[in-house]
Symmetry: C2
Subunit: 248 residues, 2 copies
């Protein structure tokens, strides 16, 4: 059974300010949660599951008795962020300080400036996971990576890629030896560029691209050549194409 | 002024069955509509615009007096499919028969099997436009390309890429000389494959990939190499990476 207060509390975590206050975020869906319960980066705070999920996941359930609440499908609907709720919802703790990240000087680092759309952010995290990106650095203007829509769009990849929010200029000042590639219009043709890692790959905002200030910081501007009429590519698609080129 | 009946009529076009009955679809937003009004593939059926739009677009407005209705922002909200309606909504006629397409035997043809998500479909059309794809062929199981969410996600690219719905097996039988590349798991590594055009590039459903039956039809299975933990890439992202590889 879920009290009205508990429903309100869980719903409040859809907003960044309450996630920050409570240091908790929502994860949903059987598939992602099977992964969530077999990792140890994020501590499980509580589990809300239907009988259907419990019957299928007795082993997991046994480990979490103290923090597991059985709920009805109707109750799940009240706390879910999904159109079609999927048997189980988990609250995870936001790690204190930075998640243990890889040394940028030895890594393929993806850097995001003011990515706003949660779907794009989640898809980019999934791309980073596919291509073995070792760190994601986000400007403070990026959407919160613990937004439920971001988490869902990662398809579980948020469990594997360390993500940090930071001042980009300070970041680059700490690693002056690394090349900083930036996705821009009118840069070096991707096919002619010699991409190498360790390095930073910088992706800008969906509508505006990289800010003027940040463009000053890049060592090489890269452009995906265009053969048709579209004005631009979606930010996540561009990230995918560039990450693939780095791994070539 | 908009009557209740007119509001209901326009709203009904959010559903495929009414779009097919009326042979009309919705396009919204100042930027796309500026492009819409300067092309002649799709005939303009009617325009619903606020005073703000009218004042900025007197030249266009003069050409369309008979089919232009001035509406308030509140009225626009009632007919819009967007969270933040944007000054103008246009109904376009769905072309009779197939849109004049390019000869597949001389084209880079993108073929979609059961792409379900409107956002993905729109993003794929935008990618196709960027990379100069000359035809898009969709299986009957794909989401309708005149769905308002698809149209919005194309960012205007639906105006430039010919899209047809067809039986894929019949399509391939008509063009037996062309290679059929398919995005699959466990195929030729993209980096080792020799992609050439004219050809077909086949992309499958978001969750399931290409169907068994369709996999039988491909001449070469292509796989984007993976370096990390993600189970898969988003269908639109995979399409972008493969199109970029074709144009290399």
């Amino acid at each position: 059974m879920l009290s009205k207060a508990k429903i309100k509390y869980i719903n409040s975590l859809q907003q960044k300010k309450y996630r920050q206050k409570e240091q908790l975020f929502i994860v949903e869906g059987e598939k992602i949660i099977a992964e969530v319960l077999s990792q140890d980066v994020f501590k499980v705070h509580s589990i809300y599951a239907t009988d259907i999920w419990l019957n299928k996941n007795m082993t997991f359930a046994a480990q979490y008795t103290g923090i597991l609440t059985t709920i009805s499908v109707a109750e799940l609907k009240k706390i879910s962020t999904l159109k079609t709720p999927n048997q189980v919802l988990v609250l995870l703790e936001i790690p204190k300080g930075n998640i243990s990240s890889n040394n940028p000087d030895q890594s393929f680092n993806l850097v995001l400036e003011n990515i706003q759309d949660p779907g794009n952010m989640g898809t980019i995290i999934r791309i980073a996971d596919w291509f073995g990106v070792e760190n994601i650095f986000c400007s403070k203007g990026c959407v919160d990576c613990y937004n439920p829509k971001v988490i869902q769009a990662t398809m579980g990849s948020f469990l594997r890629v360390p993500i940090q929010y930071t001042d980009l200029e300070v970041l680059f000042q700490k690693h002056t030896e690394l090349p900083i590639y930036g996705a821009v219009l009118g840069g070096t043709n991707l096919q002619q560029s010699r991409l190498k890692t360790p390095s930073f790959l910088l992706i800008g905002n969906e509508g505006k691209g990289l800010s003027e200030a940040t463009q000053q910081l890049i060592t090489e501007g890269i452009t995906i050549p265009k053969f048709g009429g579209a004005e631009s590519l979606n930010a996540a698609v561009a990230t995918g194409i560039l990450c693939a080129a780095f791994r070539q």
